[in-house]
């Protein structure tokens, strides 16, 4: 850059690789990021406001549509929040089946992330490989729930569909297939020198910052903080699974928890195969009994939910991190009185911003992709020249190209 630093670099708000638009305002000195500010809200749909105009059964399907990737997590956590507010206890078999689908969702989400991360680094063969592998878990989700994306599986008191022995058999076959791929997938991500160069010591979130800024999900576990709602506040069948499973950190695979993107890669990959073992554990230990404690939906809505007075907080560990819903119900009112959703990316905003400090322009895409953001779509970059005050738009493809070139430059 010919002009004197620092200069602003605007990224966003539209970007095709991610789901929702957001804008990053970087302050640059040459290629180095000095500071960053984030401007979300370009696609704020007012979901909470909509929820306050609908009854809990309607909101159940709205909650699922908060996110296209962790749709099950939102439905799960909303169910639990309403159950907490209305004092409904889910059935035990329902608890187990809920966890089965939640872990299947984790497998598909982590595989999706692995592909996106590969793409941002310029390794489209990784994208094609992981997304091909991901199709198998999508098939299990379709077999069990009937849907691939919005599962509509959770209901107050349990789940909506039981699993049949044939479905279990099909699922087990696919799990066995995945376990055979474990070494290959770990090898691709952890031993490739180019990937290591691009993600090691890049986008570092220190343990101190992770704690101070309350980061969540694989991001915080990559920094060595053992936060995982599944284990700290065990809901569903996780309480029964606590002796057999532990919080995943990079140390689980013998790596140091440095808080860089590599640590996050390790955490996600270990969690991916841990999730497969969890699914198998659930199928091995599935108790008998009804799948829901509230089989009569109209009675549930008219008698229990309409007459309920109270509030509930529920938290689940979605693939990307902790997801929390707060629900307040009022007696003789069909609609929710109050509803607050907090998605994992929202909880990670503050930590995310610290990760960009001292990063290079070409590392911006992978740092953005690293936390698996649920907001953030960049399509163009506006470079504002502080010397002339002139703006120029740079297509996302150009930025992506920079990232690819950086990987190519490191290739042996």
């Amino acid at each position: 850059m010919a002009h004197a630093p620092p200069y602003p670099l605007m990224i966003g708000p539209i970007h095709p690789a991610l789901k929702e638009p957001t804008m990053f305002k970087f302050t640059m000195e040459g290629e180095r990021v000095l500071d960053v500010d984030i401007q979300p809200g370009f696609n704020h749909r007012g979901v909470e406001y909509l929820g306050m105009k609908r009854n809990p059964l309607q909101v159940l399907h709205l909650a699922e549509r908060v996110c296209g990737i962790c749709s099950g997590a939102h439905q799960y956590v909303f169910c639990r929040a309403v159950e907490h507010a209305a004092n409904i206890t889910p059935s035990v078999r329902g608890d187990y089946l809920r966890v089965l689908v939640a872990e299947l969702e984790r497998i598909h989400s982590h595989l999706l992330w692995a592909g996106v991360a590969g793409h941002e680094l310029g390794f489209d063969s990784i994208l094609h490989y992981t997304w091909k592998v991901r199709e198998d878990v999508q098939d299990i989700l379709e077999i069990i729930c009937g849907n691939r994306v919005n599962y509509s599986y959770y209901i107050f008191g349990g789940v909506r569909r039981d699993v049949t022995p044939e479905q279990v058999e099909k699922a087990r076959k696919i799990f066995a297939k995945y376990r055979k791929l474990e070494d290959t997938i770990l090898d691709i991500f952890l031993t490739d020198p180019t990937i290591s160069h691009r993600v090691q010591d890049v986008g570092v979130l220190t343990k101190e910052n992770a704690l101070k800024l309350s980061a969540c999900g694989p991001l915080t576990r990559g920094a060595g903080v053992k936060k995982d709602v599944r284990f700290s506040w065990p809901y569903g069948s996780y309480g029964d699974m606590m002796d057999d499973f532990k919080v995943v950190t990079p140390e689980s695979l013998g790596y140091k928890a440095t808080g860089d993107i590599f640590s996050q890669v390790v955490v996600r990959l270990v969690e991916l195969f841990e999730a497969i073992r969890m699914c198998e554990w659930v199928l091995d230990n599935l108790p008998s009994g009804p799948i829901t404690s509230e089989p009569n939906l109209s009675a549930l809505l008219m008698a229990k939910l309409r007459m309920a007075e109270g509030e509930g907080v529920a938290r689940v560990e979605a693939p990307r991190g902790e997801d929390i819903h707060y629900v307040r119900l009022k007696k003789n009112k069909m609609e929710l009185d109050s509803w607050k959703i907090r998605v994992p990316t929202y909880g990670n905003i503050m930590s995310w911003l610290t990760m960009f400090k001292d990063a290079q322009i070409a590392d911006i895409p992978i740092i953005i992709a690293s936390i698996d953001p649920c907001i953030g779509c960049m399509d163009r970059v506006t470079l504002v020249d502080s010397g002339t005050g002139r703006e120029r738009d740079v297509d996302w493809a150009v930025l992506h190209d920079l990232s690819v070139k950086r990987s190519r430059g490191l290739m042996p």
């Binding site: 406001y49 101070k212 800024l213 309350s214 284990f231 700290s232 029964d240």
Partner: protein, 207 residues
């Protein structure tokens, strides 16, 4: 690692310290799975004057995990609840703690917790723009989500005249506007120059 305190012990210590300044304090417990593993959540409200002190008291159980703040229009008053977890790194001892406070609508401001816990800033910005409540001492006094979408002075979670009903009713006629023909331009101010909206107390109502 020091011993983990149970939810009833935590709530009792709050009640002992804040006495009548603490209200609506209770515990909800749930059990799941075959082993019926129990987990607890605490709800409590503290008077606005001692709210920061209550949040500081929570730090005595170790550095809490902050999740989010939720906000509600409860008629004569506005309520903001901060949701934390104590012992977030423990194996089964985490307790979700909700500490909240209320303010009357004719004096809509509550103290910010940003000096107590630095992670609260985004959610406090959100409460200002969505609920029309001013957070005294907030570290970043800009709007967060509604900059490009909603005119200043409309607060989507309000159920009174400052709510978004007019905006929502007219959105089909005026999809990019403020509901009355005015175009919304990017505006980072949470409140108009006079501060957050004041709703005059009705006769005989509210506390």
């Amino acid at each position: 690692m020091k011993q983990h305190m149970k939810a009833d012990g935590i709530l009792a210590s709050f009640k002992e310290r804040f006495k009548e300044d603490l209200f609506d304090g209770y515990i909800k417990s749930f059990e799941n799975g075959v082993k019926r593993t129990r987990y607890d959540q605490i709800f409590m409200r503290v008077k606005r004057e001692r709210f920061v002190e209550a949040a500081e008291h929570l730090l005595s159980y170790g550095w809490p995990h902050h999740t989010v703040a939720s906000g509600s229009d409860i008629g004569e008053e506005l309520e903001v609840l901060f949701h934390f977890e104590v012992y977030p790194e423990s194996h089964g001892h985490g307790v979700t703690v909700t500490i909240g406070t209320r303010c009357p609508k004719d004096d809509p401001h509550i103290p910010s917790l940003s000096d107590v816990h630095p992670a609260v800033t985004p959610t406090e910005r959100e409460k200002q723009e969505f609920l029309g409540v001013s957070m005294d001492g907030i570290k970043d006094n800009r709007r967060l989500f509604l900059v490009h979408a909603v005119p200043v002075g409309v607060y989507p979670w309000r159920k009174d005249e400052f709510g978004p009903e007019k905006l929502v009713r007219n959105v089909h006629k005026d999809p990019s506007g403020g509901g009355d023909g005015t175009k919304v331009i990017a505006d980072y101010r949470p409140f108009p120059p006079g501060g957050p909206p004041i709703v005059k107390k009705q006769q005989g109502g509210g506390s």
